[in-house]
Symmetry: none
Subunit: 207 residues, 4 copies
DNA sequence: ACGCTCGGGACGCCCCGTTTAT
DNA sequence: ATAAACGGGGCGTCCCGAGCGT
């Protein structure tokens, strides 16, 4: 049991270390040696836990997917006041997480990397979730009548991808201000008169 | 002279071939052998024209920059009817070009790749151009009074990056419809009452 | 432990093989492939034991230095009958060793090769040892009064280098006769009347 | 005619440049590009004058041989006062030339380099010449009766090789003092009573 | 179960010495 | 005499599999 505990810690250290290296260097350039060294274990230990480099990347993606589910997990519950507000909050939360969490960042980077066939489709998951929430907003009458839900979905998804990609180079793209700017422009053209949605996003949930 | 003509052709074949491989596999994974083979020249010929892999990438970026300038080159001339319409047209043209032109696509991909210090900053060029055109639109009174030009710029830039990145996986992200969707949502919230701007973009200029 | 035993054998096989190739082809021309092939191991095994070609050469030099110390290691002990005789014997031993031992030969060749910054200065070691023994000979009154010890040192050192270099092409330069010839000429001009030194050198020590 | 003049100058520039590079880097490491660049001609021009790298090296050796003949060319003429003095002078001249003349140095280095089958055997030429002069000295009665001419030859040849090789690293080995030291030790044991030979060597001949 | 030392191939980039076509 | 193109390796590195310890 104590045995397994240690193994779990080793595994996690490897996933974290791999995330950092993948995030900084990309899947192909990252060397298993640098990953295992940074994790403080030997090269052979890495191969005990992960059969191949691809398997390691998969583990990173899975971990990232778990993180993503905390941000865009369940659909807004029936008691949620406003799907659209939920969407705004989620974009803020995602930007914040992409800025702070290497694992999430690495996960998105990996599933964009053509050199690695990704199993956990982070971007797809995010898109589906946005689509669903926008649909709920329409059902609740939060969308203006002349707005096509698909337009909203594709714009939000594309913009967030843009923030993520640009944020890899200049962090200010992931700052709350940037997301607020986006919604400040988009909300007036999107929400019906009676809907009341703030562009700033709710404060970070407790860790 | 006649000799140089052939050299020019070889160089161009190499740049094109490199663009294709870089676009498909990324800078690091792409092997010089596959590039030279696809171009139908030997490995040594490649190194005659380009001293290193980085130099080859630089040439691709330069070629892409030239392409980009055709889309977002000069600021809209004084006789241009509307800067904002010009911007819409440019986004359509850029999407079309990213879909059709490997070189441009590879150029954008390269200057995003952290493993390669890019010299021609395509994204920066595009952002600056958008910024400038938006400023002109404001000066002409095309922007609504309650709209911050910086909001428009950052949203347009981010969305286009999103279209580009997502378009690498699923081409429909670069289809005209996608861009039209985006502007259909954004234009009403952006343009002043008197400005008349179409979201569809002007037809493709003659090649 | 048993594992390490095999590793040690592999390492030694590589050093030996490297010595042979370095001796025959020189540092630069020698290819790591030919070295690993001759040692019967793979290219990767070579790089597991030696990080680079230079590191391999260093190992050869270290091994050669160990061999050299057996010939010109400690200064003649106090009970040694005659420093000068010790010197004569050492030159014979060195010639014999250079003829028989590839490692020693390669070591000398390597530290002469300008293309490789040598760490173990074999020639310097030898020179210093000769200098020291000649000084002892003078202190014991074995040198003629009109002889400058530095003359002896530099002549002996230069001649031995000559034998070594020429011996690479024609082995007879390293034959005992050649060394004997040298001392037959030099001893009468060097030793004081009372010193009794043979030019032939003592028989080879038991391996 | 003027055409040919220029070709001759180009050839000489190449030989000189090649000597410098061969001397500094050795035959194998030296690149034809660095040689042609240093000579101020193009890579193709080099191949016009010399069919291959080996041919270039051969030209260097030939030039070096010509230089060597100026030092150890003809046997001492009948009217020469003393063969042995002639030998001493020649060793001094050779050391001086090896120190000052890159071509000669490169020539010796080349014919020692195993990677290149030398055509002009500089070392062999020098050995033969020494052998011959020593024989003349014996015939003239300049050698002591108990001295074997072969002992003298091999010692002189080996020592000079030693001076040359060591001089490549530390120039003082080629200084006049070093040669003088050598003869100061050797002459008393070699020359018959009536022979009068100076160890210093005659001054440099006019260029 | 967990870990590591040791070893195996496979290329990748660069560079080099050379010939063709001009 | 040149500009252009050709193959051939060399070194380094990388991702991975055996097999012995614990």
């Amino acid at each position: 049991m104590a045995r397994q505990e240690r193994a779990v810690r080793t595994r996690e250290a490897l996933v974290r270390s791999a995330s950092e290296v993948f995030d900084r260097e990309g899947f192909t350039v990252a060397s298993l040696t640098s990953i295992s060294t940074r994790a403080g274990v030997s090269n052979g230990a890495l191969h005990f836990h992960f059969a191949s480099k691809a398997a390691l990347a998969e583990a990173v993606e899975d971990a990232a997917l778990a993180r993503l589910r905390e941000v865009a997990g369940r659909s807004p519950s029936g008691l949620s006041p406003s799907p659209l507000q939920c969407l705004v909050d989620a974009t803020h939360a995602l930007a914040r997480a992409l800025d702070a969490d290497v694992v999430l960042r690495a996960g998105f980077a990996l599933c964009a990397d053509a050199a690695h066939a990704s199993t956990a489709d982070l971007r797809g998951h995010w898109r589906d979730w946005v689509e669903q929430v926008v649909a709920q907003a329409r059902d609740r009458g939060e969308l203006r009548a002349d707005v096509d839900p698909r337009d909203v979905t594709s714009t939000v998804v594309a913009a967030m991808v843009g923030f993520e990609v640009l944020g890899a180079g200049q962090p200010h793209w992931l700052a709350p201000r940037t997301v607020t700017r986006f919604w400040r422009l988009l909300l007036p053209a999107t929400t019906s008169r009676e809907a009341r949605v703030r562009a700033e996003g709710s404060p970070a949930p407790p860790a």
